[in-house]
Amino acid sequence: MAEELGHRHRGRAEAGLGVKTLVLDVVVGGLTTGGIYALVALGLNLQYGLMRVLNVAHGEFLMLGAYLTYALHTGWGVNPLLTLLITGPTAFAVGLALHRLLYARLLEGDAPESLESRSLLLSFGLMFVLQNAALLLWSADLRGYSYLAIPLHWLGTVFPANRVLAAAVALGLGLAFYVYLRTSLTGKAVRALMQEPEGARLVGIQTARIHALCFGAGIAMSAVTGSLVSMLFELTPFIGLPYTVTALVVVILGGLGNMLGCLAAGLLLGLVETAGVYLASSDIRLISSYAVLSLILLLRPSGLFGR
């Protein structure tokens, strides 16, 4: 069965080469998808792990980042990869502003359980506002451009260069952020606040400042992922929510607040999904990600790699 599929996809003659190609296709395809998932989920995880703010508008920032890159590339001819230097800082500033205007008011002084559902509702409101503002601005038409859509030949199969590039950048940024969290003083403060909020405050860590920084960083990661996604797929204002759901699945798979688990889970989900699409059909993809989400919520609420 798998061999037949391999033949149909690539039209190769030898059966042995077919299997090898298929496995390689799934692995590389899965890792490139998974790299994207990992970065967008890392941003969501940072916000939730630190502030217990479940930002369901997360994917909308990915959508906005993608549109910003699209506008810069088609309007001014800026190289899509260079637009990351614009979308990232812009989104970071927007994140700081949103934290200041909306979330800081909730984070100060509320009971935790009420904070979680109220911040959830707040971000649902944000989701409606951003998605429909984008619809008013850009309409529901598909938008896209072609960038680096050249084939890379490697080990007897072919990969689109832009996918490999996007995934490499995404994974690189994700790992760099992880290293930053582990080694820098700010990173140490972030981890201290995650583990022991009261103790962290006692030793003089400025909670509000760290919250604002992490909120901005989370949104910047989502927007930067959007810039990468815009190189690969056509855009509509609706692309955000599926990424939010995927990021949620990844975060819950990897364990809330667990950054390395999140990176691993992103790659894992990419692999599983790609294999599923190769073996079954693409209709099953959405069902399976919701089903995986529900199952993990029910069976292992602390995540696959949970403590």
């Binding site: 479940l54 509702l121 409606f128 609420p301």
Partner: protein, 305 residues
């Protein structure tokens, strides 16, 4: 006393309304009544327990789809009853699984439910039965629909008023205040939660079932997450811990959506989001909380969601 008079007058006016209203206003009243029923039904469970349920769209959709399947085989209003039963059974299953989850986990799980139901149904219909939707032939008349929805809404309001006076109502408030303590004190928390969740779902399913004949064609898109959000926003806007709150919120947003939704769809959704943000930040107890705040010392301290 004054409150009872107001409710009675409102009820009588609504019963007489189809006799005097032009068809457009009757259909507007019907839509708002359905919103009221959904918001009140949502608040029956989520108001006192503070479990944020986003499953309304799933139960509404299940009810609507049930009617679409059985209409023509059962005499009106039996399809509505069937819709209520299907939604309640679905809630029993979902509740047994999900009501162990707290906080955002529960909200995310229930949010995914409508999408999961929709996509599973699409998959089931295309690959097993070979259809993607159902035609609703020979629907009941408009006035019959109005009275059906009015009856369901009235029943929901009466239930919401009566429940706090029962032992289960007290148990719900105890669960919302501190679930572990309630359990320690001997409240059968699981049974109460699942039971009331199913009761609230039955009303949502009944409304879905009663509203289905307004569309002549129904497909799995009827499982709409927007219904879940609209319901939460309506209840929160009014204030979820009173009965008048969700009624007020639903009437207000129902009118707003009627004015904006058809002409400016995106603008309506955008303003819905803004309303939600403002409510969460500025009105933690809803519009009804504003009234209450001006009259201190009346009523019990109301929890915020």
């Amino acid at each position: 006393m004054a409150a009872r008079l107001a409710w009675t007058t409102l009820g009588a006016a609504l019963v007489l309304a189809p006799q005097v209203l032009a068809p457009y206003y009757r259909s507007l009243a019907l839509a708002i009544l359905a919103d009221v029923a959904l918001a009140v039904a949502w608040a029956i469970f989520s108001g006192p327990t503070r479990y944020l349920s986003l499953a309304t769209g799933a139960f509404f959709g299940a009810g609507a789809y049930t009617t679409a399947v059985v209409l023509g085989r059962l005499a009106w209003p039996l399809p509505v009853l069937a819709a209520a039963v299907v939604a309640a059974v679905m809630a029993l299953v979902v509740g047994t699984l999900a009501l162990r989850l707290r906080g955002p986990y529960f909200a995310v799980f229930t949010f995914g439910l409508a999408e999961l139901a929709k996509h599973s149904l699409i998959w089931f219909e295309t690959s097993i039965t070979g259809t993607v939707g159902r035609l609703l032939l020979s629907p009941p008349g408009a006035v019959a629909l109005y009275y059906t929805v009015l009856a369901v809404a009235g029943l929901a309001v009466v239930t919401a008023m009566a429940l706090p006076r029962t032992r289960w109502g007290t148990a719900l408030i105890a669960i919302g205040a501190d679930e572990e303590r309630a359990e320690t004190l001997g409240v059968a928390t699981t049974r109460v939660k699942i039971g009331v969740f199913a009761l609230s779902a039955a009303f949502m399913g009944a409304i879905g079932g009663a509203m289905a004949p307004r569309w002549t064609y129904i497909d799995p898109q009827v499982f709409n997450p927007l219904v879940s959000f609209q319901t939460v926003i309506m209840a929160l806007l009014g204030g979820p811990v009173t009965v008048a709150g969700p009624v007020l919120g639903a009437a207000f947003l129902g009118l707003l959506s009627e004015i904006l939704l058809v002409k400016f769809r995106y603008l309506y959704m955008l303003s819905l989001g803004l309303v939600l943000i403002v409510v969460v930040l500025a009105l933690p107890r809803g519009l009804a909380g504003l009234v209450r705040a001006r009259r201190p010392g009346c009523g019990s301290p109301s929890p915020t969601l």
